[in-house]
Each structure stands twice: as C-alpha cells, then as structure tokens.
Assembly symmetry: C2
Homo-oligomer: 240 residues x 2
C-alpha cells in the first residue's frame, strides 16, 4: 500500500540499509548525487531507531521492504526483522511525497493521489556520478501537471532541496530516455487530464537501481512508494 | 591574505584533507551537521584535482594551509605539497564568502570587506552532532549588519543552504556562548557602524575545531578565511 497522500504535512523517507563495509561508498554516492539522494539521517551500524521517528523501528515501520542479494530482489516482506544484520547501516533519504502537501496548498493537483495510485517512477538514461563500487542510473518520479501550473510546481519544489528540489525535466520523456510514460518501471501508471504534461523529479528509488547494477552482497530497502513516514514536519525541509 | 571580497561571483570553499580511515567518520559528520559542513565535493583518496576547479591542485591553490597532527597545529605553509600523503581524502565544504556577492547586490554592506579585513569567526558553545570518532563545537562567522537589513540578509542567505544558508543567530552573542564579539577566535576583529548588529552564520572552520577536539593523527586544512576559490558561479548554490 503506497504512502502517497498519507500523513499530509509529515516528511516521508526512502530507506536503504547496507553493510558497514559499503557504507562509505554509499555515503559518498549520496554526496555526489544530491538531487536523487538527499540524506536526511544516517544511523550507526546496527542501530534501528532514527531521530526522525523515535518511536519506530526502521525494520518494521515502512509498509513493505525489499531484500537484495548480489543485486537481485529476493524477498518483499512487510517486516524486515528476520533479515536484519548487526552490520547494517541505515540511511533515510528524502522523498518527493514530502513536497506534495506544498504542491496541493499551491493549487497543483496530484493525479496519482486523486486516483488512489502510487506515483509513477522510471529508470532514466542519466548515469549518476559513481562513488567507489557504486554506480547506476538515476530514477525519477513523474507527475501529470496542468501545463499552466508547471512553473508554480517548479517554484514550490525548488525550495525543498532535501526532498529532491526542482524538477529534472518536464514535457518530453525522451530527453530522459523514457520510452513510454504510461508504463512505469516502479509504481503505478497514472491517467492524465487534458492539458496535463509530465513533470519529472529525481527519485530516492535511485539507490535501488544502483543496487541492481552494482550488486553489493546484501541490502534492505523500502518498497517503492511504500515509504518510511517520519515525525518531521515537511516544513523542516523547506528553505527560505 | 584573506580571500574575502576576492573573486566576486565565484564560489569559495573550505578544505579539509583527512586520512582515508577517517573519511567515513568525517563524511558522516558533515551529513549530521549540514549547517556548518555543507559538502560541495569529495575527492577520491590521493586525488588532488576537484571538478569544481579543474585547472588547480588542491595542495597549492588556497593562499595558505594548516597542517594538523593529533589535534595540534604544527605548520602553516603556503604550499601543502610537502605534507601530502596518498591516503588523504580531500573534502571541499561550502563557505559563506560565496553568499557575499548576493548580500552586496541586495544592498547589505560588508564591513569586513570595506575594512579590508578577514571575517570574524568564533567557537560557540553549540556542540555538533558527533559521528564516529569526530566531535566538537560549531564555529560561526560574524558580520555586522544594519539592524534594518538583518531580515534581508536572512532571506538572501536562506536560499543558499550549500554555503551555510540562513543565520544561526543575530543580536546577542551570549546565546552562542560568545563572550566578546570584538575578540574573534579566527580572522580579524571588525569595527561596526552605528546601528549595526552582529549576525552569525555557521562556518566551515568547524572541522578545524573538531580536529582540535577529536585529534585524528593527521589532517591538512586551509587557513581560516584563506579559501579555495572555485570556478563555480555562486548562483549554482542558490535554490529557488
């Protein structure tokens, strides 16, 4: 069940837990790719509680998890406790669901929420800047937005760089190497209204595309669109 | 010689090079303390050229360097090449000099530049969030600003979070544990004009205060106020 449209006003986060001997590469990767991977919190190895949600366990609080072995998705449990290892370092990465309340408040409709669907996500042909053993393509989320409101959507989200900030593109999906905007790689297809154009934001599912390409021996992530909802107000991630 | 007021329109950076086995702790420290330590670039171990200034060597481009051994300042050379080690990982961290052109353009005078001095910097009693073996207090830079322009200075700098963003305080230095605003810990004392109030921004000299407290065996930094001037336009670090 997607958390899109849930917990309005609260920041949501992508989750990735990776063995400690891969943590430097991942942390460096996030620094070199701040648009898809804005880090909100990094736990110590083995730690299972984040300051962003003190009453929750990072292994159980997201609706669904993904277990990765050597770049292969091997399980999708609702509870990741059985897969936990004490050498795992958990990263919480900003999620674009966090700016959706601000978009609604600015008058920008959210088609996926209206249609009770997950947001559409696509693997692009933009290669991230590599870091150590980690490399892979950028993933984007896509929202159908009335053409007259694209500029407002840009302005609203640009002020929230920790949750992906301004769009990386709008209009032509092919400029990102996306062939069919109605067939997402993750999440659901969403139906546009007349006059809508597709707008693309860097997405925190990018680390999962990186896992597939870089094949570290083990990792746990959330399932796309089924986020770790924090206690932090979304306003905390707005600048200016 | 300070780089304050030099190279208007170009981003300036703090520099710290630390042995590879301390790099994860430092990278984690920067993530946990984004206000004083917004990372602009991280080089690979042994690498000496940053993408932010491709034609320069990070060991010679700043006007002056500091050599640190076990938390003690042992030398202040103009050229750090003789102290270089191939296991050093160089970090470039945002510098508040980068938003000074924007302040001037917004009508905010810069007393230290008018007086051809380095900016004043102070060690505060605010403890940074620790990361692994690294801990220490936050350092701030201080600018005298006409009271009527403090709000404008806040607005202008809030939009540049990668170069320290909005002030961490204004008015009363004691709230930061600063006893005498005319006796800085780094840089020069600056003379206020009538009606000026002190305004404080988180400062990229914080890693040097952390070196003093945490005592890693070796590090190279720039000398405070004698920055690594990049080729990046300051506008690149403005959001919105």
């Amino acid at each position: 069940m997607t958390t899109a449209g849930q917990a309005p006003g609260q920041a949501q986060a992508n989750l990735i837990a990776i063995p400690k001997d891969w943590a430097y590469d991942f942390l460096l990767f996030t620094h070199r790719n701040p648009k898809p991977c804005p880090v909100l919190d990094v736990l110590d190895a083995g730690e299972t509680v984040s300051a962003l949600k003190p009453d929750a366990d990072v292994r159980t609080h997201a609706p669904r998890y993904r277990i990765w072995e050597h770049g292969e998705l091997t399980a999708e449990p609702e509870n990741a406790t059985d897969h936990w290892r004490d050498d795992l370092v958990t990263f919480l990465v900003g999620c674009s669901f966090t700016f959706e309340t601000a978009l609604v408040n600015a008058g920008v409709p959210l088609r996926h929420v209206e249609q009770q669907r997950n947001v559409s996500m696509f693997v692009t042909d933009i290669q991230c800047r590599s870091a150590g053993r980690l490399h892979g393509p950028m993933v984007v989320s896509m929202r159908w937005i009335p053409e007259s409101l694209v500029d407002i959507a840009h302005k609203v989200t640009a002020l929230m760089p920790s949750v992906h900030g301004s769009p990386v593109g709008a209009g032509d999906p092919r400029m990102l190497g996306i062939e069919d905007v109605h067939r997402p790689d993750f999440g659901d297809a969403v139906t546009p209204e007349p006059g809508d154009v597709p707008v693309f934001w860097a997405c925190g599912v990018t680390p999962q595309a990186v896992l597939m390409k870089s094949k570290p021996p083990f990792a746990i992530t959330h399932a796309p669109g089924q986020m770790f909802v924090t206690d932090m107000p979304d306003f905390a991630y707005r600048v200016g």
